[in-house]
Symmetry: C2
Subunit: 422 residues, 2 copies
């Protein structure tokens, strides 16, 4: 149980440390319709060829290409074939079948002519206006997948598209990684609970609610343990309860509270502390420890610092514990609309909104006050502009990486339609 009072990690080292402890928590079988955002704990195989036979790729006519080597033939329609039909006819010379996209090719046919390249003559006679090569507009049996092929590998995130593919191979139930169980504990005598009467001089407890939203956004419903007072034996009781979970988030009141009260209590309960501070802004006082397989994060009491720290460390950790391969928020490049002062030393995360430029690129503008106590900025940001630790300041027009947060996943314009209304 070593602990270094001065243990300050770089962002990269802190991230490597927390991810090393982010392990999977078992497997469960669930219904497909409950599986969105979970990750597969098994390889999934095709249970038949797709398509199950040669099919038409177009609405049109199934033909014998030998009838059309020079183009311009009139063919007799001997059958109408829709998707799911079993064709009855065998095409002879001068014959064709009307066929829909996805429908099975009749025996004798070796090409498809799209309807746009034909002209109806009578109900049973069609003029083909183009020549055709064998195989034209045919999708071959097994083109998409062959029976027995692995179509989805363990670890795949279950998006809506994956749900469709799982239904295609008839997986009404799937084996997925279990969700880690997450507990959230606030600490500090000064905090006023959401359901407590209003004290005009009180400090409202908001961190556990913002953290609840952050955890829910990752697909996990956390348990809130309440507000622990600074009294050591009561705090210990709360923390002991939290250590029964896979992940415990302790939202410190003031940083003095974290060091004076939370820290000795965690140590006394056998939590091995790995670091206490991270070279970032906001979020400097950020602690991480482990107790058996339980991960304990000591998050700063400052509302903005708490949320930013969560995004940088807890979110990738929970994503990995959920079985995801993509742990990190999407980043994009934007141009700053203003300069940013920065003293080399810590990575800085600047709250920004994104505004589309006339050239289709993004401009990033600060949300205004970067005070770490001002939650209003977290309520309206699109993302965080990342100022690297060694940067000596950025000028207006400089390119900067933006980490897109939840508020930035949708935008007000389509981004590609010219009329501006959409």
């Amino acid at each position: 149980m070593t602990m270094n009072d001065e243990k300050t990690y770089s962002v990269a080292d802190a991230l490597a440390c927390v991810l090393k402890h982010a392990t999977l928590r078992g497997v469960e079988e669930i219904a497909l319709d409950q599986a969105l955002w979970r990750t597969l704990a098994e390889d999934v195989r095709a249970n038949r060829d797709q398509p199950p036979y040669d099919v038409s790729a177009m609405d049109g006519f199934a033909v014998r290409s030998a009838d059309l080597t020079v183009g311009g033939a009139a063919l007799t329609i001997v059958e109408d074939i829709k998707a799911g039909d079993r064709p009855k006819a065998t095409l002879g010379a001068g014959q064709c079948a009307r066929i829909m996209t996805g429908a099975a090719l009749p025996t004798g046919a070796d090409a498809v002519i799209r309807v746009e390249d034909t002209r109806p003559l009578t109900d049973t006679l069609v003029e083909i206006t183009v020549p055709v090569k064998p195989g034209n507009d045919i999708r071959r049996r097994g083109d998409n997948m062959r029976c027995g092929d692995v179509v989805l590998t363990a670890g795949t995130a279950i998006t809506p598209g994956v749900m469709g593919l799982l239904a295609t191979v008839k997986r009404a139930r799937v084996s997925v990684h279990a969700r880690p169980r997450v507990a959230i504990l606030s600490s500090g005598d000064e905090l006023e609970a959401l359901d407590a009467p209003l004290n005009p001089h009180g400090i409202p407890e908001s961190n556990s609610h913002a953290l609840t939203g952050q955890v829910q956004a990752l697909g996990i419903d956390p348990v809130r343990l309440g507000i622990a007072p600074d009294k050591p034996e009561v705090l210990a009781r709360y923390i002991r309860q939290g250590l029964d979970y896979d992940v415990l988030l302790v939202s410190g009141g003031s940083s003095v509270g974290m060091h004076d009260h939370v820290r000795p209590t965690l140590e006394a309960l056998g939590v091995v502390m790995h670091f206490w501070r991270v070279e970032m802004k906001p979020g400097f006082p950020l602690a991480f420890g482990t107790h058996g397989s339980t991960l304990v994060f000591g998050l700063p009491g400052n509302p903005v610092s708490s949320m930013v720290s969560f995004e940088q460390f807890v979110s990738p950790t929970l994503r990995r514990m959920l079985g995801h391969r993509s742990l990190f928020r999407r980043t994009l490049t934007a141009r700053l609309t203003h300069s940013i002062k920065h003293r080399p030393g810590r990575v800085e995360f600047v709250r920004v909104t994104l505004v589309a430029g006339n050239d289709g690129r993004w401009n990033a503008a600060s949300t205004g006050s970067q005070s770490s106590g001002d939650l209003t900025s977290m309520a309206r940001l699109d993302g965080l502009a990342i100022v690297p630790a060694d940067c000596a300041g950025l000028a207006a027009g400089d390119a900067v990486q933006i980490q897109l947060l939840d508020g930035g996943m949708f935008q007000e314009t389509s981004g590609f339609l010219a009329d501006g209304t959409a």
Copy 2:
């Protein structure tokens, strides 16, 4: 009940048409912890000043600036003030108070010195090593918000940051826009249900499951009505059931099924059809109608076309019905790794994955086959590259707008840490 057989809309016109019918569906009051991704149906006001009094912006010492006009004074520590404490002392000449971030300033103090700019001499004596101006590192009462200020306006999307802000102003319950009720109906005799026995030549019904995921991803739990057969009177019974919802998604089997069976049934039930086709690829056969306040989308039977059509039209519609201002998926600019052939006419949506370039910008590569029957591409894409209608083809290296879909919201690398592991 006018209907034009040939009614083909541009993407922009089709979008304008569907959004015109996307209306709000009432208001409900819910618990804060259930409010993620909903939108506020009320303005929310601050219920006290934040901060409630002048507070320190730093861990350090509250001082009288008059004592430090030249720097380098030794001051007597008369009190320790933590966040939430009510200070007792009034600072006299030569006195200071140890103070934590967010703690109330004692009477007499007019500046804060951060702890880094001080040196402890004894337990009650501290040397200040810098001069200071009045107001230094003080956050004034009401700096973040003043009692009565509107801090969140109606229509705000409830992100985790908004949840924190709502807790700050003690809103345990909030008034939000009701979710539209969404029904999904599949149609076509050829479709094999997920729970039906495997027929090696059958066509598995996957669209309703992919659509379920797409609707769930927007925060709505849809109802699946099942697979309607092509028999008109039975189909009518299914559709009548669907018209009781706010939004009905009919996933056509083959397009012939849509036109031969679904279309006359919708008309017979009094659904006013606004368009039948949209100039896009994939997704050309896309229908939209209304029945009273119910919106009816006729989605293509092709699995990829169905999903892409949903993203372009149904998703913005549901977002608006949910009360959101940001209706559209985030777009970013990427460079194509290969050329794309394109015949001017329809907007084309090309399934791509994004790979980070060495310069921190994104490269976009096709997922491979762009066959609209191949769902495996939808299961692994990050987004859709948008090829404008009037484009005559794109070359490798060209910049292209990427619409980020659900699979593209997270990435495998942090995007800003140099070590590559994170």
